[in-house]
Symmetry: D2
Subunit: 375 residues, 4 copies
């Protein structure tokens, strides 16, 4: 069984290769009645679009989305929403050299091993270009979440060894977090880091590695606020399990953390457990004094902000000489990678990671509608 | 849509609450012809069984499995395999106190928020007792994997702040790893750590925290060898994505890493990328000089060992006084948790994590059968 | 991918063979809060139980159900409901003769061809005994439907060539049908026919065929009233499509009709189309003057009664000599079938068909909860 | 959960409305390595295309397909195959009159009831135009089946009350049926009936009803030969169950029969059961002397030809005056339907029904790959 569909009730199917005619997505399961236009999608596509700064690839794509179905008089109809983006600036000849010599750190060898053939141009289906469909689908999810008062924001917290001082896991009550400030700060700079002091250092680290024909990795966080308590489906489709899958399915992600994440291994129960308390000024609304759980307990949302963290590996496409094999001649080989590539992935991964988190939340929000008897 | 089924082609559905009559699992999609008996299942159930050492709960369960279907004359028939384990040593009255006061770090509050009612006894469905079904199903998967030459082993690498010197990520060629040695070393001690020097320190750390009415967390690794290149289903059901979901769906896991994991964020591309080379003495078999990728590129297995790492939070059940709320009276409250609990989860999580990894691999092994035209 | 799970949001997984230790079902996706006890299940199991009359097999099974999970203090919890029924009156030796000689009209040959091995005793998994799980799961669905004012009833309309005068397709407004009368009339006699004049003739037809070592087929209808307009999921999971699958998945069913069914082929559009009209005495509720559509248009319920009809083949187990093959010797062969069998299937298929219809309706009722934006 | 995806391992997702910009399909799960081009798709699209004869609508669409992904150098890659067909001859203004007055026999009222809004132009998503995606996806399935020696053909057996003498259910050994002859005969005339004597009568019946502003129904058969024994997944995803769903999901189909179908209700076991016999001249290949089972026993293929039959209702769009309601004014109303419509559906449903059968067979052929241990 193939794996190009994500979600159960709010579901996307993406398609397309880097150097094929187009990439796209079909969204199925979006409830009828949601106001939606191409402009809603375009805003997120523009955020992931390449060629925007010195830390992203120079491939130039307009990435104008066309909605082909599912909308009538400005609203979703409950029928599938098909969206397409044409590929325009593909330069396939740059990839002739790698047809038989798999690039280290890339999916070239594994696609060949799996399918027996592959489109080697620009990585084919394994290209980051595939995320156009995710972002377009995520934009619909985001619109649905907004109706429920849920907002999702992502930002870079570490890049090229530079760690920012941003920390979302310590004691953040749901009601006070200003997610809009976080977004403004992150979107104001090319590395998408909300910590103004770290930006220049991060840019410098990226630039240094690029000069040496190398690349750097980093860390990003995705935060969701306004998620009501109760969403997530034990015991396998837990909210954190589905978030982990969603985020790990993005190329270059090698670790996913929820809340305190890896640090929980060094904590004691008395420090890790988040005490419960009624939120003052509400009529019996339950809150948590800390949020080490990252907004999820037993795979179900607590009502506190949901916090995910991803580790992103350095771009595998580097211009340094690398050892590989020639699958046709059977000899060991060396390659230098040409083509246009991001010197660092984390800034551009942010809108993709937001999209994946939004898709999971939209799906589980709908799934929760069946958890209880109707009143 | 509920979430008690895991996998697509090799699929388990688990059921049961901690203090209900029984727990169990239905395995669907196991190919016909596999030799299977209750003894094959029991060996793994015995490894996860409580009451085996000072680092696990004193609840005493025999956990004898009964296979109710799917086997004829010692072989699987391709029909569903239903397995059941009766609950025997449940002491429900110990939980009367927590009916209305959710335990911090537990799923009590979130189950109540989700469903509007819950079985509070022993955590009900959110209890670790639910993992009996996972381990029983995983034992079937493991038997299937063995037919394909695949082996899965888990072990603890860090506990209560004590880190062992075990490191599987550095340059481990697929053909030399002695997984059987790793297993023997891990299974010989109650903390399931293969590093003999760390064992005593870990036991001491657990004991100290217990004396203080507290608990500790840790880290475990799961390693799979013999996985052929080519399994995993891009772009959403990537092998690493499904492993992340599988492992994050286990209670207490707050982070999942693949290969170099979080460390990749601090590496450069030239250090992270694993160079390819033909394996000497084979007829053109491709290997990797290092294994930072953890055996997965582009969501597809490379043929190198698959390495997963999980961070496990400290047991939330601690006897220290904790702040919570009383959902009935509407007052803030305090609780001390009674009942029988593991002072530390990582050693007992190992067979569960192995089971989840085995389930993912068995599923993807079958999924790969449809990737190409038949010869 | 195996096929022992039915439904998406309200979902059952059945397991068990005719001569194994037990048969059972896991229900996942039943909303929390539904009052449910073993008595609710037993009533339908008793209706499908063998050994009740001269038109059913003499195999004697108590079929007492045990609920193993999912219920707390008399209500569903939203967690999986596992139910088990032990097999008690299996006489396996009666089947020794057919181990290598597939019975005509049975699944013996095809199971062998598919899996390479099979449990030949009593048909193994292909036995009608498998429907215990369907009926138990259907009883839960029925309870859920009752909360929504939906009722499902089945009855025999034709048996052994005797057609009753019952006709549900002609002009039946939703509000006037007395489904309880239909049920009482059907359940009062062993052939489950509500037409009192046809009963004796049907019994006679069954008896005559039995005397000749033969068997008869028939037709049954299943009617659902109270289904609100709007359920069903185009374009593939249409309500009629899912009903057709549900009913055709029952052994012995060879045709499924909705509403006018096969007769529509001979009608003109002006006769087939059901005119719409506001129902008098309601505030703008829409009704249909006739119901040739059987309550479904475009795969979505209209609000009129849903009417399904199934053709049931004569029991393949007959005592007349039949030609077959010996799979071991490679010779043509002859068999006379021993064992205990129903001389006619339609009366006993009724509770199974009701269960399948109830499962489809419960599933789609939940699916409809996600069709629109929340108010 | 929405329902626009069909199949499990070979899977299509269709999208598009009658008067939207385009219609299309994404095929996921097609094995890598299959030769495929737009010409392979176009041939089937041309067969379903409107405007080809006096028995189909005069809407004129070129229906040129564009493949947007999944193909590289003339072969499938194992990645999703996205196909699109632009809508060109939509005349939306013709539908202004029906915006508030649902057409009897159409999905207008039910879509409105389900989603709260709908695209009324040309029926929107409920239009037969949606079947473009099915046929395009089915063409890929058909190509895959051809590799396995499987062929699927459909034809009309009854139209407007005229029954042809074609009968496929009586004693048809698998090896002698000339499916190519059947196809040539059916495709040579506008009613797609292989019985030359019936064609003129059928055309006359259609013409007569059209003159009266009315429409006629009919019956079609779909036959698949070359299907190996062993495909189909009990107990719910039986081959006949999935075929029933596939065929019933096509608009206008009100009954599905397998093999002897409804007639089995009037047969005795001794007449219905198909005797088994070794096929002469083969090395132990099993055949059946008759094929009342329609090639399926216990939900699994027998190796004999698979025979499905569908009853197709008369086109609901008729120009006669019909009674309906005005959903806005709340008054009863009358309508005469304008626009362009097929006076009879069966001839044009044939390629759609073939596509659905091909999709089911392709799916189950892949599913069977996991039924047994690998050798």
């Amino acid at each position: 069984m193939s794996g190009n569909t994500f979600g159960t009730q709010f579901r996307i199917t993406t398609w397309g290769e880097s150097h094929g005619p187009a990439v796209g997505v079909v969204v199925d399961g979006c409830p009828a009645g949601l106001p939606l236009s191409e402009a809603d999608i375009q805003v997120d596509l523009d955020r992931r679009r390449p060629g925007q700064s010195q830390v992203s690839t120079s491939r130039s794509e307009e990435d104008m989305v066309e909605i082909l179905s599912g909308i009538f008089e400005g609203r979703t109809m409950g029928t599938p929403i098909s969206m397409i983006v044409r590929n325009k600036d593909a330069r396939s000849s740059a990839y002739d050299d790698i047809r038989n010599t798999p690039r280290p750190g890339h999916a070239d060898y594994t696609y060949q091993a799996k399918y027996g053939l592959r489109d080697h141009r620009g990585g084919g289906r394994s290209s980051a270009r595939e995320t156009v469909g995710r972002v377009a689908g995520g934009a619909v999810a985001r619109k649905l979440l907004a109706q429920a008062g849920i907002d999702v924001v992502g930002y870079v917290t570490e890049l090229g060894g530079i760690r920012s001082s941003i920390s979302s896991i310590s004691a953040v009550p749901a009601h006070s977090l200003k997610i809009s400030d976080l977004r403004s700060a992150a979107e104001s700079n090319p590395v998408r880091c909300p910590d103004q002091k770290a930006i220049a250092l991060m840019l410098q680290a990226v630039e240094e590695s690029r000069k040496e024909g190398d690349s750097v990795g980093g860390v990003a966080e995705i935060l969701a606020v306004g998620v009501p308590p109760g969403i997530g489906e034990p015991v396998f489709d837990k909210l954190d399990a589905d978030l982990a899958k969603a985020l790990m399915s993005i190329g270059a992600v090698k670790a996913v953390e929820i809340g305190a994440g890896i640090e929980c291994a060094r904590m004691r129960g008395s420090g890790m457990n988040d005490p419960l308390a009624f939120i003052k000024g509400t009529e019996g609304k339950v809150g948590f004094e800390t949020n080490n759980a990252g907004g999820i307990l037993g795979g179900i949302s607590t009502g506190a902000p949901i916090l995910c963290r991803i580790a992103v590996k350095p771009t595998p496409s580097i211009s340094k000489m690398q050892r590989t094999v020639d699958l046709v001649t059977g000899d060991d080989a060396e390659i230098e990678i040409k083509g246009r590539h991001d010197p660092s992935i984390p800034p551009r991964i942010v809108p993709v990671a937001e999209a994946m988190v939004a898709l999971v939340l939209a799906d589980h929000l709908l799934r929760q509608r069946s958890a209880r008897l109707m009143d």
